[in-house]
Symmetry: C2
Subunit: 336 residues, 2 copies
């Protein structure tokens, strides 16, 4: 597994990105890491780099506030673009960037290209509940057709079995406003019909927002607009709840003593919902393993993200393509 | 203020509904409560009812698992239908039901009718963050047009000023996948344009899921599909977080001592996010104050919901109609 890493993308680039990449390279000697960035910025950080790390020169980063398509047009040597072209040319199997999300998606579509039969890609992210749940799409495709949601279900199933190591076929839920098949808008009703008919999907029916993480489904599919709202709401509510508990405990002397006594276990709760455990979200539907890190990724998040690619990314594209092709064959038979 | 209460709707009906109604009647002597239900089920609970409570006979309830429109067609004497007709006839100003949500919405549309200029209604609910935030629509209208979202913004503004008692005009945010005006699908982009141009709305721009409760907006508008997913996700995540903290504290002796010491403050956190504080969601856009209680409402939730109607419901419909009419006049001028 060879991973092209956008060394310049993210709030803490290049220091934390490079530090995480070096840590991953040491932990995973079978993985080759291609750090992509301006040599002047990256080279000084590579003094004690292990042998499975190399530098690939590029121009600067696409900044967080830039319009992705315009930035890629005017600066085709931007770090994320050079990294994506390493995947296209076959020099790398995977791409990691913690920079501008839109730029990573656009560079992947432009240079790496889509998997056959997949009109639009999806960003898949793990919600760190007691029962970890893969949610997709969380923002790559804000306007979806029902067929897109079926594709997302197939992409998510193949990926979750590898990444979450589910036993047997992952159960896929459709995010909806109620459990009954007739619920929701036209898109949800049509997607329900396609999912129920697909031999490639272990369909668990409609799930509601409150079922996320309940174990009713391992994978939950929805359009990128709703998924983005749900993901960010979950992050915001988790942060607010932990803040309220913290305030409650620290607001009195008894509480402060209490918090001290329970500190290791409370920190374990915080760590459990820490996005850095996974370190990034997978862009599924393109011809490479593409992972988008959090903008504020630290070395730990980068290291975990690269380890996740090494664990789940080998042969991923071939398996996704084969499964989508089987679905197309099945739909053809059904339509015939 | 006269409130028709569906005494048979909800998991704990009629006992908890009637108990909550009686408590509200005692607390609010200026409010008249019309309990609607089968006399055989309700009358025995009214032994010590105060003088401002009366019984209006009806048939049975629409059950939670019934298809609302079909149930109302076949049983026009269902309790929620009789209660809605009391609003239409002017015998009541408001309706409360903790029963089948779809039936309450359908009965309101069928018997009470919509406010002029309001194509579709919205269910508005308060998210109990440190900065309470009114979210609408959370499920009445799963397929929206941009004009619907503008109407929701106006309905939500008028209502939030009364219900949340905001200082000055409430700031309205549009739920979207990013802050910039060009973000999102066609619906979000067009709604952004209408909201920015409306003199009736204090528009705060796009807000993301993680901004809910941050104070950036007092009111957040979105379509009923996304709003429903966001609301239920928030409820699920809050429950999961508090459960994890509870487990963390109770899992060791030190933690149990700690939890005991901090118990009053931890209970305060739980109470702060308790849906029963508000007791229900307002259906805005119909010609009456209609409140939909949680299915598992207890007497406390019912009492709080009825107190909320008394506080915010007087003259609400007239003010909503007048504000929507001003918006139509402004749009007409703009279009001319």
């Amino acid at each position: 597994m060879r991973i092209a890493v956008d060394a310049l993308g993210g709030d803490n680039a290049p220091q934390e990105i490079v530090a995480g990449a070096l840590a991953a390279a040491r932990r995973l000697p079978g993985v080759e890491i291609l750090l992509v960035g301006e040599p002047g910025a990256v080279e000084p950080l590579l003094e004690r780099a292990p042998g499975n790390v190399s530098l690939r020169p590029s121009g600067g980063a696409v900044r967080m506030d830039e319009e992705p398509a315009a930035a890629l047009r005017s600066r085709p040597d931007a770090s994320v673009a050079v990294a994506a072209r390493l995947v296209r040319s076959g020099e790398a199997d995977a791409l990691f960037s913690a920079g501008n999300t839109g730029a990573a998606v656009a560079a992947s579509l432009l240079y790496i290209g889509r998997i056959g039969g997949c009109r639009r890609p999806a960003i898949a992210t793990v919600l760190p509940f007691s029962h970890p749940t893969l949610l997709l799409d969380v923002g790559a495709t804000v306007s979806c057709r029902a067929q897109d949601l079926l594709n997302f279900a197939i992409l998510g199933s193949v990926f979750a079995r590898r990444y979450l190591e589910t036993e047997g076929a992952p159960r896929v839920g459709l995010l909806n406003v109620g459990e009954e098949p007739g619920k929701g808008h036209d898109l949800a009703r049509e997607a329900h019909r396609l999912l129920a008919a697909s031999p490639q999907v272990e369909f668990a029916g409609n799930v509601e927002g409150r079922d996320l993480g309940s174990g009713r489904a391992d994978v939950v599919v929805t359009d990128g607009f709703t998924g983005n709202a749900v993901l960010k709401t979950a992050e915001g509510v988790a942060r607010e709840c932990l803040r309220l508990v913290r305030e409650a405990l620290l607001g009195s002397l008894a509480g402060r003593v209490a918090a001290l006594a329970a500190r290791p276990r409370l920190l374990a709760v915080r760590d459990r919902v820490d996005p850095e455990n996974y370190g990034g979200s997978f862009l599924l539907g393109v011809r490479g393993a593409v992972v988008i890190g959090h903008g504020n990724s630290t070395a730990r998040g980068v290291e975990n993200a690269l380890a996740g690619i090494a664990r789940a990314g080998g042969g991923l594209v071939a398996e996704l393509e084969a499964t989508l092709a089987r679905q197309r064959a099945a739909s053809g038979r059904e339509g015939a």
